[in-house]
């Protein structure tokens, strides 16, 4: 674009980003609606699971009528979209409560878990990377360097089970289930943070390496700054940008990881809600989950797009 980084140009750019976000939201809603429709089976099948009755065919038909699943698919879609625009996603088929209520109850728990997890991931990742740069012993550095790839590749639920065994059943520092204890939240977040920290550290170490071998750091070194000062005050500032850029993805990974973490730690949250909902074809709940998740992604990326030029003035606004 040619507007330059003027205020008008920025607004236009953000406006386009916003419009793009709305399209993404609608796409996510529509895709998940039809995906559930195309997938074999429906909620009526789930509702009659374990049935010991006799005329199941008739009961399935009756359930479909009750749930409005017997209407033409486009009518169902139009109805769902129209109501969703008013913030009404319908009633969860299995719990028979408003889907939005169900979701936002769980949402708070998942956000707490993911937010603490994200903070831990960044802190641990940055600490590890800085430590790698500052440590003198080759063997220790090699050891630390091997941690991020391991952290990224261990299955998160395995990490969760090990941590739970250790903290709940051996040390008895946390209750094994539930949402109500702060130590419990910290340990569950740690399970979530370990793979995230590995990712952050891998990215940061690569960038720190690049920064520390660049000419301007030579200049800084010649000013007589200590090594820690160089790494933390100068190299880190320039290397952190890609980490910020990847935040959208990191948040996604975190939210994804909550499914397993919530299962292992028996915490309520969106992760478990969405797995159960897809499992049972609970369309109203799935639609809430997908739409809100998409909204979070759009919002995070929008914010990243908006603040990016503020971190680095050289960024060209492309729209």
């Amino acid at each position: 674009m040619s507007g330059g980084p003027g205020a008008g140009g920025r607004l236009r750019y953000l406006g386009k980003r916003l419009a793009y976000g709305v399209v993404v939201l609608w796409g996510a809603f529509t895709a998940s609606f039809f995906l559930l429709y195309v997938l074999p089976g429906d909620a009526a099948g789930g509702l009659t699971a374990g049935a010991e009755g006799e005329d199941l065919e008739a009961i399935l038909a009756e359930q479909r009528e009750l749930l409005g699943l017997d209407r033409p698919v486009l009518v169902q879609y139009g109805d769902a979209l129209w109501r969703a625009l008013h913030g009404d996603f319908g009633i969860s088929i299995f719990t028979r409560r408003p889907a939005t209520e169900l979701y936002f109850e769980a949402f708070g728990e998942t956000i707490r878990l993911a937010a603490v997890g994200l903070a831990l991931a960044v802190v641990l990742g940055v600490l590890l990377s800085v430590l790698i740069e500052l440590i003198d012993w080759t063997w220790a550095r090699e050891l630390l360097l091997s941690l991020p790839p391991i952290a990224v590749s261990v299955p998160p639920f395995w990490v969760g089970i090990v941590l739970l065994q250790l903290f709940a059943f051996q040390l008895r520092l946390i209750p094994p289930t539930g949402n109500d204890s702060l130590p419990g939240l910290l340990v569950a977040s740690l399970a979530l943070a370990i793979p995230g920290a590995g990712g952050v550290s891998q990215l940061l170490t690569t960038n720190l390496r690049g920064a520390l071998t660049s000419p301007y750091i030579e200049t800084v070194r010649n000013w007589g700054l200590g090594r820690a000062g160089v790494v933390v005050r100068h190299a880190l500032r320039n290397s952190i940008l890609p980490v910020v850029t990847s935040f959208g993805t990191t948040v996604g990974v975190m939210i994804g990881g909550t499914v397993l973490t919530e299962t292992v730690f028996s915490r309520t949250g969106v992760g478990r809600v969405i797995v159960d909902a897809v499992d049972g074809r609970d369309t109203p709940v799935v639609l809430v989950c997908v739409t809100v998740s998409a909204a979070i992604f759009v919002a995070v990326n929008f914010v990243v797009d908006a603040v990016y030029p503020l971190i680095d003035r050289r960024i060209e606004l492309e729209a």
């Binding site: 374990g50 719990t95 051996q170 289930t177 539930g178």
Partner: protein, 542 residues
């Protein structure tokens, strides 16, 4: 999706077992189990029992949601009659006595006059009428609706009486009524919209619902004024326990860890693989909760061109080595079935001879039936060049073991599971050669519900020109018209024999719900698969 997730977690748990041994160093030796018979009755009161659930049951009302009949619903509501697990007789509960007409169509109940529901209202004939009527509504679970199916009228001649009339004879009505699906609730609960009943109800059970937190816990507390337990129990008045908390812990290894650490007192449906570990940590393991219906069975689709010949079906029946199936699939915990009905069913008869493992006989039968050539892949082929390959809608340990056993007799079993949400429909449409089904009702009528043609689900897809099948159907329909136990038994025995002799169904194993619980927990009883908490007490009343 959930199953694959859980399978992954289970693998992880097994992988972890080694790790956790390291972590725990050495487990504390099991405490000597104190002699409890000497604990006086008055010292048994108190304490909260913590029970682990593997999933949120989605509600507390067995009339609306599945599986809750095992535990929460049974603690919250009583039934009109009680099926005594020891004598297998129908005993009084909320009804003091009853009469049944000769034609098994009219049931008159006399009710207790001292029963109150949790909302303070009293049990009357009108309330029972409202209960039975409410079960016929859309949105009520099929298992509950089946109980009231065919009722033509309900009348209340006196305040403490109710008369139920069926259009057709229904000998199975009393055993059905004894289940938690037909637990009697207050008039307000009965008439409440289904979605309200699902999450809260006022029953007359020994416990009341205090709170329900989605995906977390269900809390019950004892009713002080409870005083109408069936005679089967060892005490009267209120339950010994002060309260019961059901904690929802989806991950097996975590539930096991929690009962070992004392965070839970009781878990059920314990996977056989975990039993040695749980036993080693001093927990009581109980094998007494046995499915009182049929266990795991595979209805055979006789409309499949491959399975119309009875000899092929019999070859499959004799091609299953049930003893080694039970040994491998459940470490010998599940029972080897002796007929289509579980040994715990009041109408059980031993039909083992038709279920004997005899691969040579299977081979002869298949040869006779024209599957006498064995292809290069070891699977039998007929003159038309068709392979004897059967499709099955599930893929688990049991299926894989049977698949391997049938390979020995030249039959291929293709495991092709549908998604959970479409399973029922696919099983009903007959697109698979064999299906599976699961029942838990403690009466012979389960056979009619499953295999009956005139009424019932006809899960073997018996055709009109199938003479033996029609003979079987006549027996299945007849047994539900007979009130005399011996007469009914004779007809059921005949039907049971026909079912397995002609292999309309392949009984595979009788499932046992393994319980693991704290040595402090005493006198928790099973009734079929139901957990009875009324007599249960905790040592040292935590």
């Amino acid at each position: 999706m959930r199953t694959t997730l859980r399978r992954g977690l289970r693998v992880a748990a097994v992988a972890l077992a080694a790790g956790s041994i390291v972590l725990s160093g050495c487990a504390s030796p099991a405490e000597e189990q104190a002699d409890v018979s000497g604990v006086a009755e008055e010292d048994r009161y108190g304490g909260t029992l913590n029970i682990g659930l593997s999933a949120d049951p989605l509600g507390v009302d067995a009339a609306v949601v599945n599986q809750v009949w095992r535990h929460v619903a049974r603690a919250l509501s009583d039934s009109l009659v009680f099926l005594d697990p020891e004598t297998q007789e129908i005993e009084p509960w909320l009804a003091t006595d009853w009469t049944v007409s000769e034609d098994a169509r009219t049931y008159s109940f006399t009710l207790r006059d001292d029963v109150t529901f949790n909302d303070g209202t009293a049990l009357t004939g009108e309330v029972v009428k409202a209960n039975l009527e409410s079960l016929a509504r859309p949105g009520i679970h099929t298992s509950a609706r089946a109980i009231v199916e065919g009722i033509s009228s309900i009348t209340v001649p006196r305040e403490d009486e109710v008369v139920v009339e069926f259009a057709e004879p229904n000998a199975a009505f009393l055993p059905s009524l004894s289940r938690a699906h037909a637990g009697i609730v207050s008039q307000a609960s009965a008439e409440a919209p289904v979605e309200e009943r699902q999450k809260s109800l006022d029953g007359s059970g020994p416990f009341r619902l205090v709170s329900y937190t989605d995906n977390q816990e269900i809390v019950l507390e004892a009713r002080e004024d409870y005083d109408w337990a069936p005679d089967y129990y060892e005490h009267e008045g209120r339950a010994y326990l002060d309260g019961v908390t059901y904690k929802i812990i989806p991950e097996d290894s975590v539930r096991n860890g929690a009962v070992q650490s004392g965070d839970l007192d009781f878990i059920y449906w314990v996977d056989a693989n975990y039993i040695p570990e749980l036993e080693a940590s001093g927990l009581t393991i109980s094998y007494s909760a046995v499915n009182p219906a049929t266990g795991t069975e595979w209805p055979v689709n006789t409309s499949s061109p491959l399975l119309q010949d009875v000899r092929v079906r019999q070859a499959l029946q004799h091609g299953v080595d049930r003893a080694s199936l039970a040994a491998i699939s459940s470490n010998g915990v599940y029972l080897v079935p002796k007929g289509p009905l579980s040994e715990e069913n009041p109408y059980f008869s031993d039909q083992s001879e038709y279920l004997a493992y005899d691969p040579e006989l299977s081979a002869d039968l298949l040869d006779e039936a024209g599957w006498d050539e064995i292809g290069s892949d070891g699977i039998r082929v007929n003159d038309a060049g068709e392979r004897l390959s059967l499709r099955f809608p599930r893929d688990g340990a049991v299926e894989q073991i049977v698949q391997e056993q049938w390979k020995q007799i030249g039959v291929e079993l293709v495991l092709d599971p549908p998604l959970a949400a479409e399973a029922n429909e696919k099983l009903l449409s007959g697109e698979y050669d064999l299906a599976y089904w699961y029942h838990s009702s403690p009466d012979a009528d389960v056979l009619r519900a499953n295999y009956g043609v005139a009424t019932g689900s006809n899960r073997a897809f018996i055709a009109e020109d199938d003479e033996r099948g029609q003979e079987l159907d006549a027996l299945l329909q007849e047994q539900n018209t007979l009130l005399d136990h011996d007469a009914r038994q004779a007809v059921v025995d005949e039907a049971a024999r026909l079912l397995v002799e002609d292999a309309y169904t392949l009984p595979l194993e009788t499932d046992v719900d393994v319980w693991a619980y704290s040595p402090d927990l005493q006198d928790i009883k099973s009734n079929g698969l139901d957990q009875l908490l009324y007599d249960a007490w905790l040592q040292g009343g935590e």
